[in-house]
Amino acid sequence: MSVRHRLRSLWTIAYMNGVIPVRRQPLYLLNTIASPLSFLFFIALASRGTLLRPAIAGGMVLTMISIGTSLQADLTHYKQDMKFQDLVVASPVEAPIYVAGLALSEFLYSIPGLSVFVALWVATGPVPGVFDAATVVGTLLLVWAFSSALGFTLATYFEDIRETFVFGPLVSLGLTVLPPVYYPATFIPAAYRPLAFLSPATYAADLLHRAFSLGAVDPRFGPPLLAAPLDWLALIAVTAALFLLAAKKARWREP
């Protein structure tokens, strides 16, 4: 396929899986908003509002990670229950096009959630500058990319959609709930802080917390964990590694 055909193919998949179902049932759009908002609600409530800003950043990250987990669920469903992926494998559509098309449609579902968080971000602090806005967009794009690559790789190993119901929440827990995503890293006792670096979401949250100027707004939050270039480097490295993993280990043609 030429580049034009590939783009056409990618957009068609996104349109089929995203635009058409949403046009038929707009309530789908509320699907991804629920869990990031509920975390935000509880954390803001329990902290009497002090953690509202970091929790907004956390909500953004969790929304993007959720794209990966719902992509994984869709992929497993399409492969195991519908045999649709088998049909696609034996067609001119290549794996990256199929996955990117589906990931794009999942992104569509997360737009309402993201809009809420962006609105809260702007409403609860100083007006963000262009640099901060670019940081947020870039960070979220990388989280979207790595969580999609991870979702795809996992999906090709699952044989039953029910496995998804276990893994999805576990991945969310390990990547976003435990690490300092909804709260600032400085809240973790210094001895345990290195553990936070195990989750790639930590780097994303660190960048967001910086863009949200948490430390400047409220001195209790302290400075970000790492210098910005290190956060970027780590996030890009994780994304590249997960893309490589997907390229090497995802089972498109089965062994």
Binding site: T12, A90, S91
Partner: protein
């Protein structure tokens, strides 16, 4: 005639399988024909289709599809094929029209051509009046037809249809048959797996019967017929005794009487004998089902190929 598909000693043992699912299958499928792959549950039909259509790697042997090695050059093969996987289901949140049209767009087809081909195929498959019905509101048979329409609308040169008519009513089956015949008239090649022997015989220029991963018999339906010892069948009522019938051929008891497989002359003789006794009798060339029975020793519908190996 050039070959659309050619396999040499193709073998597959699944990662967790003990017995090979395919054990040295060599087939040649002439271009522009319908080729039937038949065999019982678990015989290895789907495994063959999945390997040839680049969904699965073989553990030995090779397979060439439209001149390209399916293992080494899957991209070349994928550009030229389309598949209905066994038990595949259409995307339920689309209408039939969307299903077919966007499938073509996904394969990279231009909008105008995709539109034309969609309209044509929906008309041919008797789906035009339901084009805007959601797949989730269709009966199982109509969903199957929508799948078939989707694949036939593509411009693939070789179509793999893994049990495309399972679960269809007789009329719907005929519509799928007509679509398959049309694909052949367009010069396309169709590899069809099926449990319906009448279907295999009606559509296929050649057939292969697979049993436990081996090709048991291969050829045109006529060639396959000529391979069996008793090409005729006579059905007789139970008032005759087995001992009376035994000299004429192979006797088996069926519901309400006997079935005798015989050579043509014995079959005629037996029929005459029964007519003389004023008994109801029917003589006919054997069906593929009967051939199966004679070659494999059990009917196609009786159990799984590997079932008797037990737990």
């Amino acid at each position: 005639m050039p070959e659309a598909l050619r396999s040499e000693e193709l073998g597959k043992t699944y990662p967790h399988g003990k017995e090979p699912a395919l054990d040295g299958v060599s087939l040649r499928i002439p271009a522009g024909t319908v080729y039937g792959l038949i065999g019982r549950n678990g015989a290895g039909k789907t495994t063959f289709v999945r390997i040839a259509s680049t969904q699965l790697l073989p553990t030995r042997g090779r397979v060439e599809v439209l001149g390209f090695d399916a293992v080494a050059t899957p991209r070349e093969v994928r550009a030229r094929i389309a598949v209905i996987p066994q038990e595949s289901r259409p995307l339920y949140f689309l209408t039939i029209d969307e299903l077919v049209f966007y499938h073509l767009r996904m394969r990279g087809m231009d909008r105008r051509i995709a539109r034309e081909r969609t309209d044509t195929v929906l008309r041919q498959m008797g789906l035009a009046d339901r084009a805007n019905t959601l797949v989730s509101r269709l009966s199982g048979g109509l969903r199957r037809r929508a799948m078939v329409a989707m694949i036939f609308a593509s411009d693939a040169e070789l179509l793999f249809l893994d049990e495309p008519t399972t679960g269809l009513d007789p009329l719907a089956r005929r519509e799928v048959w007509a679509a398959i015949q049309k694909a052949r008239h367009e010069g396309r090649t169709v590899l069809l797996t099926t449990h319906y022997l009448d279907e295999a015989e009606a559509l296929s220029a050649r057939l292969a019967l697979i049993e436990r991963g081996h090709v048991v018999v291969e050829g045109t339906p006529a060639e396959i017929r000529s391979r069996v010892k008793y090409p005729f069948r006579v059905s007789l009522p139970s008032s005759l005794s087995e001992a009376e019938l035994a000299p004429y051929g192979e006797v088996s008891g069926v519901e309400g009487g006997w079935l005798v497989f015989a050579r043509e002359d014995s079959a005629r003789e037996l029929t005459k004998l029964a007519l003389d006794k004023n008994l109801a009798v029917a003589m006919a060339p054997i069906s593929l089902e009967d051939i199966f029975l004679q070659l494999v020793g059990r009917p196609l519908t009786e159990g799984d190929a590997l079932a008797e190996e037990g737990p």
